[in-house]
């Protein structure tokens, strides 16, 4: 209630008719979706049984989306071990992507032209070709080189010797393919973070006598994180789903496990739902983690940190409750 001098004036809120209509339409659409998701269909068979001498027959129905099958396979050993492979692959490929991406970003900013050009070419190549093709490439490279030897060309110096045939197992192939590809994207994200840090910060660090590497580690990177983390969270979530391409190198991950099962029992939709539900669950967990990491690195950048989801929920509930309370009092007043 607003007061205007001595006379109390009632404030009538605007009625948003459009919002009510939109809300109604969406509610109906949602109800239809839920209805069809949980509808049952006849199987064509009937089940008959005799009660008190009379024979009763009724058709047998099944969940249209095979929820019983979904439930049966959701925690089956094959699906869970596929999920584990997906999680491991995501973690290792992202670890490679982030560390190599950071290195490439730092190389891009190097004063040495050869170093920065090399970094540019890397990004150009790995972003410019489909990741599926890259996976197939690594899958077949062992046919080209059975072994590789790292050393100085034309000199008799050897650093390392790798048997590629033994190294490129399906899992390692997927790790290399996805990790190297990810590094190209991560390098652009890291670079945008590094150049977002004010030049004055670098001058201040330098004038304290910090070396270039100290300035990078202690001053630039921690501040660049604020810019780097949100898109990196997206990259992790995106990687989680991109791992399903590892089917190309015959790695059995989450989707591969589902495929294996449905190619035997033809329950295609329920098993796709099983895989999708797991992807959704992991994505939800990752998004929550991302929020807290972002909050951590926002320290000092904002005068007051943003609320946690729980705080926000509490505020929303409080806001709605207050609205109801005031709405009821206006209703009573009129």
């Amino acid at each position: 209630m607003m007061t205007n001098g001595d006379d109390a004036v009632e404030v009538v809120p605007v009625r948003h008719v459009g919002r009510y209509v939109a809300g109604f339409v969406v509610a109906v659409a949602l109800a239809m979706l839920v209805h069809t998701l949980f509808s049952k269909v006849p199987t064509g068979q009937v089940s008959c049984h005799a009660t008190a001498g009379a024979r009763h027959c009724h058709p047998i129905t099944n969940w249209r989306f095979g929820w019983n099958v979904v439930f049966h396979y959701f925690t089956s050993r094959e699906i869970l071990s596929g999920l584990l492979v997906t999680l491991e692959l995501t973690a290792i490929a992202m670890a490679i992507g982030i560390s190599l991406g950071l290195l490439i970003a730092i190389m891009r900013l190097s004063h040495n032209r050869l170093v920065s050009a090399t970094a540019w070419v890397y990004t150009w190549f790995f972003r410019g070709t489909p990741v599926y093709v890259q996976l197939l490439f690594w899958f077949n490279i062992a046919a080209l080189y059975q072994t590789v030897t790292f050393g100085l060309p034309f000199l008799n110096v050897t650093f390392a010797h790798i048997n590629l045939v033994a190294f490129f197992t399906p899992f390692n192939t997927a790790v290399v393919g996805l990790g190297l590809n990810e590094a190209a994207y991560m390098s652009e994200i890291a670079r945008s973070g590094l150049i977002s840090v004010d030049e004055g910060q670098i001058e201040a660090a330098t004038s304290l006598g910090m070396t270039r590497s100290q300035t990078l580690r202690l001053v630039i990177l921690p501040q660049a994180m604020r810019v780097i983390i949100p898109p990196t969270g997206n990259e992790i979530i995106s990687m989680l789903k991109t791992t399903s391409l590892a089917i190309a190198v015959s790695l059995v991950e989450l989707l591969g496990a589902a495929t294996n099962i449905y190619s035997a029992n033809y329950e295609i939709m329920p098993l796709l739902i099983v895989a999708s539900l797991w992807y959704l669950i992991v994505t939800t967990v990752l998004s929550t983690g991302q929020f807290y990491v972002e909050r951590h690195y926002a320290k000092g950048a904002l005068r007051t940190p943003p609320p946690t989801p729980i705080q926000r929920l509490r505020n929303d509930v409080r806001g709605i409750a207050a609205k109801f309370a005031s709405g009821r009092s206006t209703a009573r007043a009129s």
Binding site: D198, G200, Q201, E203, A204, A205, T206, S207, L208, G209, M210, T211, R212, Q214, L218, V219, P222, Q223, Y297, K299, G300, A301, L302, R303
Partner: protein
């Protein structure tokens, strides 16, 4: 070569210092002498090269020609057996760590608390222990009047408070020379005084200071000598109380008529 221990030897000596960015000659033969324990004010119009000169003195930039000595040493070089050896990065960092610099825009580390801003250089550059660094940091924060702010982040402080933290951060390195580049130019007028007061205290304690400023009152009151830099050369210099009252060159006269 003179030994750095000589108390009569100037802290900074510049002879014919030149600096160009590409085709633009920013410093065109600067001569300047800063005695130990004295405050030198550097004034001049925007773009005259004041910041560039300070940046050459602590080797954030490399001058192209001329002789520039800090504490008796050639900046960026070492004279041995009649030859000049360019110093490596580590030696340059060590040299720089003993020259404090305060910036117009404060440049506090945004991701660190006030206390960490003042300890990080001590710990990471000078190798002081965390505890000893914190003790010294608290002393310095008390000296600039900010005892209760050590847990705050820079974004939570006023401009004047931030600049005082920046001074404490520089002092934590136990500098032999302090460079101030327009330390009050980004401040609201009512906050200028608190920063100038800290600088006056510092001057009284015997710190050698070079101050780029437009605060003529501060120059008149505190400075032992004043240099007027214009288009990359020192146009006029001397005792601030004489130079500011009776400017000889037409350029200084017109500059003073604009800033006073």
């Amino acid at each position: 070569m003179t030994t750095p221990m000589d108390a009569t030897m100037p802290m900074v000596e510049a002879h014919g210092v030149h600096k160009s960015y590409g085709a633009v000659e920013v410093l065109r033969g600067v001569d300047l002498t800063v005695a130990r324990g004295e405050v030198t004010c550097l004034i001049g119009p925007s773009g005259s090269g004041k910041s560039t000169l300070l940046r050459c003195i602590n080797h954030l930039e490399k001058h192209d020609a001329g002789e520039l000595r800090v504490d008796g040493h050639l900046v960026g070089y070492e004279a041995r057996e009649g030859k000049l050896y360019e110093r490596n990065d580590k030696q340059i960092c060590a040299e720089r760590s003993r020259i404090g610099m305060v910036f117009q825009r404060f440049n506090l580390f945004q991701h660190l608390t006030v206390l960490d801003n003042v300890t990080i250089g001590q710990v990471k550059v000078r190798g002081v222990s965390n505890d000893a660094a914190a003790v010294r940091a608290r002393e310095l924060l008390a000296r600039v009047g900010l005892v209760d702010k050590e847990k705050n982040y820079p974004s939570q402080l006023s401009g004047g408070q931030q600049q005082r933290v920046a001074i404490a951060r520089a002092l934590a390195m136990e500098p032999k020379l302090m460079l101030f580049d327009e330390p009050t130019s980004a401040l609201d007028p009512e906050l200028v005084g608190e920063v100038l007061d800290v600088m006056k205290d510092l001057a009284k304690s015997g710190m050698t200071m070079i101050v780029v400023t437009h605060e003529m009152g501060f120059a008149r009151e505190v400075a032992n000598s004043l240099y007027f830099l214009d288009q990359g050369v020192i146009e006029e210099s001397g005792n601030p109380r004489e130079v500011l009252v009776n400017p000889r060159s037409a350029r200084l006269q017109s500059f003073l008529s604009k800033v006073l």
